[in-house]
Amino acid sequence: MGDNGHDSDTVTLTIDGLEVTVPKGTTILQAAEALGNRIPHYCYHPGLSAPAQCRLCLVEVEGAPKLAPSCVTDAQDGQVVHTESESAKGMRQGVLEFYLANHPLDCPICDQSGECKLQDYVFEEGRKHGRSREPKRVFGRDDFGGDVLFYGDRCVMCTRCVRFMDEMAQDPRLTVVERGNRSIIDTFFEEGVEGSPYSGNIVDICPVGALVSKDFLHKARAWDLDHTPSICPNCSQGCNIDLHTRDNLVQRLKPRPNLDVNEYWMCDYGRHRYEWMNRGDRIEVPLVRRDDGHEATDWPGVLEPLLESLREGKGPVRAVASPFVSNEALAALASLVEALGGGEIVFRSARADTEIPLPGFPKLTRRHDLVPNRRGAEILGMTRVGSDDGSSGLDELADHRGTLLVLGDELADLGPDFGARASLYLYLGSHPTPAATAADFVLPITTHAEEEGTFTNYEGRVQRFWPALQGPGAARPAWLPLSLLAARMEGTRSPSRVDEAFLRAGELAPEFRGLAYESIGTRGALVNEPAVLPEG
């Protein structure tokens, strides 16, 4: 605080009559955003440099001779800014009309329609009728390689894509060729962005339908999609994402900003591995073993006999977990094992030889571990076994003669003999597998896309995800039956909500202690003592 009572590191200005105080060096555009006023823009993107070239964000600053580009003009003490004055609005209307002069307006067949910044801005502030009667420039379509298709006529020349490749991917594959109205985005070589591991992001940041995803091409209309905040399950980075769903199917993944984890980005490896969430072959109802195979039943029909068997005590407990299940499910499994007298819990997880950092924000890296919750499993005392492709390591367990619990691992490398010698074999899974043939009880569980819960990423950040899909049949989040069984064994109350289930993790491991769903929020929260990182 200075003598005059003003913090010298901040400035106070007025935007459209509202006063706002922001740190020095904040741009007018960002200051307006702090007031909830989103000044239209194309070329500015918070994760990239600002070339101030689209000229949409021009605002009136009292005393300045010309309108100022708010994306590069620093907020100053005492500045009086108008974003809605006649000159600022008139300017935006004019610029929007310029954009339309050559725009094909093929919204009916454009994938961006419904989430397009040109549609939005023109709808909000454009002229009722465009005045252009001239023939339009035609560029046509180009395959940019990888998942990216380029519709040149729709491009608004914001150069975000070029700057992403230059600044973030640091793999300059795109450029502007020609100049003036002949300017067009192009690739340097035939392969375009093919093989550049973060190139999918250029589709996300393209404000219009100029860059579209081949995978998503004509698959769904933007307004038919539901967006659910989630966590990418394809590596231990835990990028914040949205699952875009329609007809109870995941249609695509999109990064969700989290400056501590993935900024605005995600990798292509993760982005394109969602089809398994849509698998139709599911375990839909609880199954109990009869002499001639499994018989379908309902939850009471399975839980009572299961509890009975557990109470009888069927020998030493061994368990297999999956690093694809939530902290809550893992904690519930650990509780149950404890209630049964304790025993080793192992898990298997695939590991890549290499990491794939995003050079412009290297904290975002496609990690070695190709699973979302290895850290959570380890914090809860589980041991990784098997090889780096996520298989083997269970030979001994396959012949275990006591109580055998399996949670979430599809056991794809194992056959129908797995667990055949166990005195009690309980399998909780989402997908039918031969390795569950010998199970005495099979419980249908939801995937992370169908339930609420948390994962713990590589650095010990606990992050929440929300249900985007309706789980099939009687499938339930795994923590629910597991903690019920544990509670019944111990005569305690079973958690009925996922946040209560999470608190159970804190009872088991000090790292989780003190964390609560509210404090995790949408940003995630670091576990206690996160100092020891797993190998790599």
């Binding site: 309108l67 002069a101 003036g180 002949r182 300017s183």
Partner: protein, 430 residues
């Protein structure tokens, strides 16, 4: 009479060597008094050089007319790292052909001006950014730089003063926009010639991110003379606000076209009718573009009593720019002339800013439609409105430049447009 044509009313200070083959060599140039300014400047000291140039009132000849001494004084006094001087020799404005002649005939005058300016602003390196299509000129200036190095006038320890100034000739690749000061810097750095957002201004962050000053060839050519003879001497010509002499590049429908060095404030009509010999028999003045294709049109009426100074031309509704006087007689099809000018800007727009990228071609297409007799009166309103939206809204002023002739021609030659719109008849054929 030498150099294609010279007139007794000219005052030849910087064009003194035009038409003299010896002036192109170092020895010939020295015989004409060359490099005396450099010698004197090194003896005077930097501050005094800047003071003399300030006193002379010399204004930038690249178009904007910014006082040169003041511009130099914006450079940091305390050096934190390298400083650069950029000599803008990209001359590409339609109708402009003065810098080319200065470089072809008096390359050492350009180099001497560069060295003095570099010394004054503490630059250790000069880039002469020469328009790509000027093949001969590039060779001449490069050869002269070699000569200067050989004679110890450039490079290390210039004339035993301990001052080191290197000179590099950089050949452009043929883009008009690279004449814009910050696009030129991008180009020198090896990138696409895209104008930069200002601030920061070049004196703070210029080429290679270092403090830089950029001056036009003609501006720099005046400097050695001012240093030798003093600021007051330079002020014997011109007006208070526009001191000195200036090269006027006259083109179009006058009998004698070419470069004429005249004192500022020279009457436009005297230039047209006396120096340039007036029009062909039976022809009369229709319009003048006084400062290169980016300034507003003047009618014959506007030309009356117009003083060719920065302020005199502004008084008549246009701008002196780089003093490229394009003269049109009554044969001229103004609409076509405007359309061709706009086509030039559309072709040369770098394409960053939306109003310029989209606006220039849009204007051109409307104008072409009008030219073909398919226009409407509404189109004229649209043209003016689009022109206004292109003015003051972009990173550099190319956009404004494209709009200026459109807006001013519709204002001043509306009848020419209406003849095409209403009757499909062009006024004028040329």
């Amino acid at each position: 009479m030498a150099y294609p044509y010279t007139h007794e009313r000219e005052t030849r200070v910087i064009s003194r060597g035009f038409g003299e083959p010896e002036a192109r060599t170092l020895d010939g140039w020295k015989a004409l008094g060359g490099y005396q300014g450099l010698k004197k400047a090194l003896e005077m000291g930097r501050a005094e050089v800047i003071d003399v140039v300030k006193a002379s009132g010399l204004r930038g000849r690249g178009g904007a007319g910014f006082p040169t001494g003041v511009k130099w004084s914006f450079m940091p006094q305390e050096k934190q790292g390298p400083h650069y001087l950029l000599c803008n020799a990209d001359e590409s404005e339609p109708g402009t052909f003065k810098d080319r002649e200065l470089m072809r005939w008096t390359p050492h005058q350009v180099i001497e001006g560069c060295l003095i300016a570099a010394y004054a602003i503490q630059a250790e390196h000069v880039y002469i950014y020469c328009r790509g299509e000027f093949f001969e000129t590039n060779q001449v200036i490069a050869r002269a730089v070699e000569e200067a190095y050989e004679a110890g006038l450039a490079g290390e320890d210039i004339l035993g003063s301990g001052v080191t100034i290197d000179v590099t000739v950089h050949q452009g690749a043929g883009a008009y926009i690279c004449g814009e000061e910050t696009a030129l810097m991008e180009s020198v750095e090896g990138r696409r010639g895209l104008p930069r957002v200002k601030p920061p201004f070049p004196a703070a962050v210029g080429v290679f991110g270092k403090p830089s000053t950029i001056n036009n060839v003609e501006t720099l050519c005046a400097v050695p003379h001012i240093v030798v003879h003093g600021g007051e001497w330079y002020r014997q010509w011109g007006t208070d606000e526009s001191p000195g002499t200036k090269l006027f590049c006259v083109s179009g429908h006058v009998r004698r076209k070419g470069n004429f060095e005249l004192p500022m404030g020279f009457p436009l009509e005297d230039l047209l009718y006396d120096v340039c010999g007036g029009f062909e028999k039976g022809r009369k003045l229709k319009a003048v573009i006084p400062g290169g294709s980016s300034v507003p049109f003047m009618t014959a009426e506007d030309c009356k009593d117009c003083s060719l100074s920065y302020e005199g031309v502004v008084e008549k509704g246009s701008m002196l720019g780089c003093a490229s006087v394009m003269v049109m007689d009554d044969r001229t099809n103004i609409v076509k002339q405007v359309r061709r000018t706009v086509d030039f800007f559309a072709h040369e727009s770098c394409g960053q800013c939306t109003p310029c990228r989209e606006g220039t071609t849009w204007l051109s297409r409307i104008l072409l439609r009008i030219e073909r007799g398919k226009g409407t009166e509404e189109d004229l309103d649209t043209l003016v409105d689009l022109g206004r939206q292109m003015t003051g809204t972009t990173i550099c002023v190319l956009s404004d430049s494209a709009a200026a002739p459109v807006i001013s021609s519709i204002e001043k030659f509306r009848d020419d447009y209406l003849a095409l719109i209403r009757r499909g008849e062009a006024v004028g054929t040329a």
